[in-house]
């Protein structure tokens, strides 16, 4: 598998003064993958991206692209391109000017043809003469994408590219982005704090916390078999009952007494559209949330219930 890695990070560390932003980071990103780095703000994911792009230099460790070290090269000598969180479109250039910018700097041939192709790919063929200020948020995001893809990077770095979009658009763009990545086959390194984004788009996810990778795996692996308590809590909702983790969808809740279950009292419920979250206080004092279908949601606050789960759904951590 390792020969197929297009991007490798080996023991990469970066400090800012007294703050250790990234510590001993190892990552393998495979060619053609949609790879996400997921973590809360301040976990070091943006610093990681900036070191790969070349805006920061690692204090220790190596970054390899196609097997060659790039960590000492300036950004303009690395065959990776970035979609910035705020897009960083050049406000004094048209859409075409923005997309051409890199091609001209790199002295590539067939610029006009390339610009047309890449703008078609992001469905902006008719907006080439517009200025960035005349575009909607979604269109600007696509220009940023086109501008970076025009240079055919080995790896496209995306720094929370959906966070500036409004929530309704975000879901649609998620699907489009995934579809685009599949069509053009470019390796994506996607930085996000949004677990739903990471789970829905990625081939693999690296979950980061406090400057370190806690787990790398497919979305299913990190969700269903989290290796650490942090990963279990950060991805999806998690109940902690007697030191054991159980997902809300693994809990059953009923009025009838269940010999294997725990007894508790309904505290309240939250209607989520597709399901209902019922919150209950166990006799032990712990609060847990069970996800149930609509028809089971006749439980009222104060009702005594029995809460159960299957041992196979338990998640244990040291």
């Amino acid at each position: 598998m390792a020969d197929d890695a297009i991007l490798q990070l080996r023991g990469v560390s970066k400090r800012f003064g007294a703050h250790a932003a990234v510590t001993g980071l190892d990552l393998d990103v495979h060619r053609g993958a949609f790879f996400s780095v997921l973590g809360p703000s301040g976990c070091g994911k943006t610093t990681t991206l900036r070191m790969i792009a070349g805006f920061e230099t690692p204090d220790q460790g190596e970054i390899l692209l196609n097997g060659s070290r790039i960590d000492a090269l300036p950004p303009y000598r690395r065959n990776v391109n970035t979609v910035f969180q705020n897009y960083a479109l050049f406000p004094h250039l048209t859409v075409r000017g923005n997309v051409e910018f890199g091609l001209r700097r790199m002295g590539r041939a067939g610029i006009e043809e390339k610009v047309r192709t890449v703008l078609e790919q992001v469905r902006l063929g008719d907006k080439a003469s517009r200025m960035p200020a005349q575009l909607s948020g979604g269109e600007r995001q696509r220009v940023a994408l086109a501008r970076a893809l025009a240079l055919e990077p080995d790896v496209l770095l995306l720094d929370e590219p959906l966070s500036a979009l409004d929530p309704q658009l975000r879901k649609q763009v998620r699907a489009e982005l995934k579809d685009l990545q599949r069509r053009i086959g470019v390796t994506f390194l996607f930085i996000t704090h949004d677990q739903e984004e990471a789970l829905s788009m990625s081939d693999r996810i690296a979950v980061m916390n406090r400057g370190m990778v806690e787990q790398v795996g497919t979305p299913e692996e990190v969700y269903r078999r989290p290796k650490t308590r942090f990963v279990a809590s950060f991805l999806g909702a998690m109940n902690w009952i007697g030191g054991v983790g159980v997902r809300p969808e693994a809990l059953t809740i009923s009025r009838e007494a269940n010999p294997q279950g725990r007894r508790g009292v309904v505290v309240g419920s939250v209607f989520l559209g597709s399901a209902v979250h019922v919150e209950a206080r166990l006799d032990s004092g712990e609060i847990c949330t069970a996800q149930v279908a609509h028809d089971a949601a006749t439980l009222r606050a104060g009702e005594a219930v029995s809460i159960g789960w299957s041992a196979a759904d338990e998640l244990r951590f040291e």
Binding site: F55, P74, P75, F84, F101, G102, R105
Partner: protein, 275 residues
């Protein structure tokens, strides 16, 4: 609220009406009158003060004033841009450097200009030093020429170029320069293709702030230029003092204003075309 907002404007508007608009009307009237025997103005009204500008002597003065102001502005720009860039990227030391830029304002402009005379004259510091080192035998003609005037103007007005450039650069999103580098631009290409074009509003503001006072300067040209480099500002000054020709002085100062306005409008149109 709208009425209140107008009220905020009132003090400044009143001040300008009394100190700018009213004197300007007086200057316009004076420029159309005949000179009095001992200064002041008399009737009849006449256009003669303006027709005198057809004399090539005055045309040459206007032209010299314009090119000296233009050269001083360009030199200020060339010096201020790297300096402003340096300050804008200096992190916590920004404020220190900015106060150093403004520091010369703590001393009178007149005294600072005299200081330049002491540096530049034949027996001044520079010539004495060079002679004592044996590098030159005759003092260099550093003072009383166009070069000295331009030097004095650049020195005096540099802060007016640095501050607007700094303000523009400081506001600039740093990710734009990163994006440029990310897309393959070398540092100088980023400077030329991204930073400089985005700095256009600051360049325009700074150039106006430097060019207009340079065009009308009389102190610097009087002290550092000597009698050979008379500029339009000195012409105006002379008419109101030694020459006692107030109407012509008024006409000359209005001509100065007209030149400044024409050049500014041209610069503005140029700027709009660039955008």
């Amino acid at each position: 609220m709208r009425r209140l907002r107008r009220l905020f404007l009132a003090p400044a508007a009143a001040l300008l009406a009394v100190t700018l608009a009213a004197p300007l009307v007086i200057v316009c009237l004076y420029s159309l009158m005949t000179r009095g025997a001992y200064g002041g103005v008399e009737r009849p009204f006449t256009l003669e003060n303006y027709t005198r500008f057809w004399d090539p002597l005055y045309g040459a003065i206007l032209l010299r004033s314009s090119w000296i102001a233009a050269v001083a502005t360009l030199l200020c720009l060339a010096l201020a841009f790297p300096l402003a860039l340096f300050i804008a990227r200096s992190g916590q030391k920004k404020n220190l450097y900015l106060s150093l830029v403004i520091l010369p304002f703590w001393t009178s402009f007149l005294i600072r200009t005299y200081a330049w005379m002491f540096l530049l004259r034949d027996t001044g510091l520079i010539n004495t030093l060079l002679q004592s080192m044996g590098l030159i035998h005759e003092p260099l003609p550093l003072l009383y020429n166009n070069g000295a005037v331009i030097l004095g103007l650049v020195y005096g007005f540099l802060p007016f170029m640095v501050l607007p450039l700094y303000a523009t650069l400081e506001r600039m999103d740093p990710s734009l320069a990163e994006a440029s580098s990310d897309l393959g631009a070398r540092p100088l290409q980023t400077l030329w293709r991204v930073t400089l074009p985005l700095c256009a509003p600051g360049i325009r503001a700074g150039s106006i702030l430097v060019f207009v006072p340079c065009l009308g300067t009389y102190l610097t040209s009087d002290l550092l230029g000597g009698s050979k480099t008379i500029l339009i500002g000195n012409l105006v000054q002379n008419q109101f003092t030694t020459a006692r020709d107030w109407p012509f002085g008024a006409a000359a100062s209005l001509a100065l204003m007209a030149v400044a306005m024409v050049l500014l409008l041209a610069a503005r149109r140029q700027g709009e075309e660039m955008l």
